[in-house]
Symmetry: C2
Subunit: 217 residues, 2 copies
DNA sequence: CGCAAAATTGAATAGTCTCAAATGTAGTGG
DNA sequence: CCACTACATTTGAGACTATTCAATTTTGCG
């Protein structure tokens, strides 16, 4: 990310408080940004308020729509956060002259596309128990990657960075269904829920079975 | 696409018959390809056979996973088709030296990501009637873009390149539900279905209302 | 402690799916 | 040209899952 640090000079660092939005769906694409710290949700909504979380952005992730005129989604801070913001036109001019940066952005975008498409299978074809199980396993893997406590590939005890409604918006369910599935899993001793933000996976294998993981051939 | 034609020399053109697959989910990513002619579906499946179509690829589209080891989805021809195929390792070596090509690929990938995310809203939050209405409008727009008959922005009479089961796999519904929604729309005189592959949109505005299109602010 | 927000629980409903049967369509060979 | 077959689609009835709406409980915070 050498060139990115070079590029950083034409950007400016800003802070956002939890709940504030950086970009709105439907607005003109005026800025792009690199996340320095904090967690963001990317969302689209329907007129009547139904909302779908279409992505989560972590530190080092890139948000905004370069080379395009319109933002297709809203970007909102889930925690207090800091970003390095660039004007989109500056970025669009700068990028073609810095192929190494574009290459990295391409790789990130390809990864994001794979993730989005994997999630489409969940949204279109999985049942509520399958959705919740998949979500919990995915979170345990993602949060393990950040390397908090152990160097394990999976962390069975972790803090959820989302409220129940947000989990529902990620899975395409209602908050009530998410709640019911979680308590049911707790009652089956698959997981423990010490408080509403913490999850403890007691039986990862059984949870994986429930999640209908694709056959790793 | 000048550099692409240069690149084409290290690729070879192949033909696929309707129904044949070029790439399998879970397999190693050995090839990437440019579509010359024909239509493809990108799919992921669960163990028990449930399938989700996560994308459609048209001529000039790029398929396969560069800069990665595993294919996350299956690529299958929906019609007889021709492609220009490259070994992934060749492509991966070639690409970083051809920033203009990478730039175009980045733009395509960003567009794909936007489309995938828009579809996540449909899969996660829309009802069956909304899904079918959205699908019909999207198809009429996409097929109008190819410029068959008129230069209109929307073509109200068109041929569906999918069977009912494929429509179901695109929308995350069952074939029966798709069928019921279509006949219901036909009975309401919203659309006409001359034969099972042709659709005629009689009332685009009313269909747009049903589709719960996002507010274009 | 008391309040507002978040989460859980319950009962009833609606919507989609499942399973089964009937109908329609395209392609083949007589 | 027609009958026959295989396959795709439609239709129907019933079951079941997730939603809706309402009420209750829990949590975090001033």
């Amino acid at each position: 990310m050498d060139e990115l640090s070079l590029f950083s000079r034409i950007g400016r660092t800003i802070s956002l408080e939890k709940g504030q939005s950086l970009i709105w769906e439907g607005d003109q694409s005026l800025i792009v940004a690199n996340i320095v710290s904090g967690l963001f949700k990317l969302t689209t909504s329907l007129d009547d308020g139904r909302e779908q979380i279409i992505g989560i952005a972590y530190p080092a992730d890139f948000v905004g729509r370069p080379f395009g005129t319109t933002n297709e989604y809203t970007v909102t801070a889930l925690t207090d956060a800091r970003l390095c913001v660039f004007s989109r036109t500056d970025f669009d001019r700068f990028a073609p002259d810095h192929p190494e940066m574009e290459h990295k952005l391409l790789q990130k975008t390809l990864d994001e596309l794979d993730r989005a498409r994997r999630w489409m299978l969940l949204l279109g074809r999985k049942s509520a128990p399958e959705k919740v199980a998949t979500f919990l396993l995915e979170m345990s893997q993602k949060l393990a990657g950040s390397g908090c406590d152990t160097a394990d590939k999976q962390l069975n005890e972790f803090e959820l960075p989302f409220g129940r409604q947000q989990v529902a918006d990620i899975l395409g369910l209602t908050i009530e269904t998410v709640s019911r599935q979680l308590t049911q899993m707790k009652n089956s001793n698959l997981i423990d829920l010490p408080d509403r933000r913490h999850v403890n996976i007691l039986e990862p294998e059984r949870l994986a079975q429930i999640s209908s993981a694709q056959t790793a051939v």
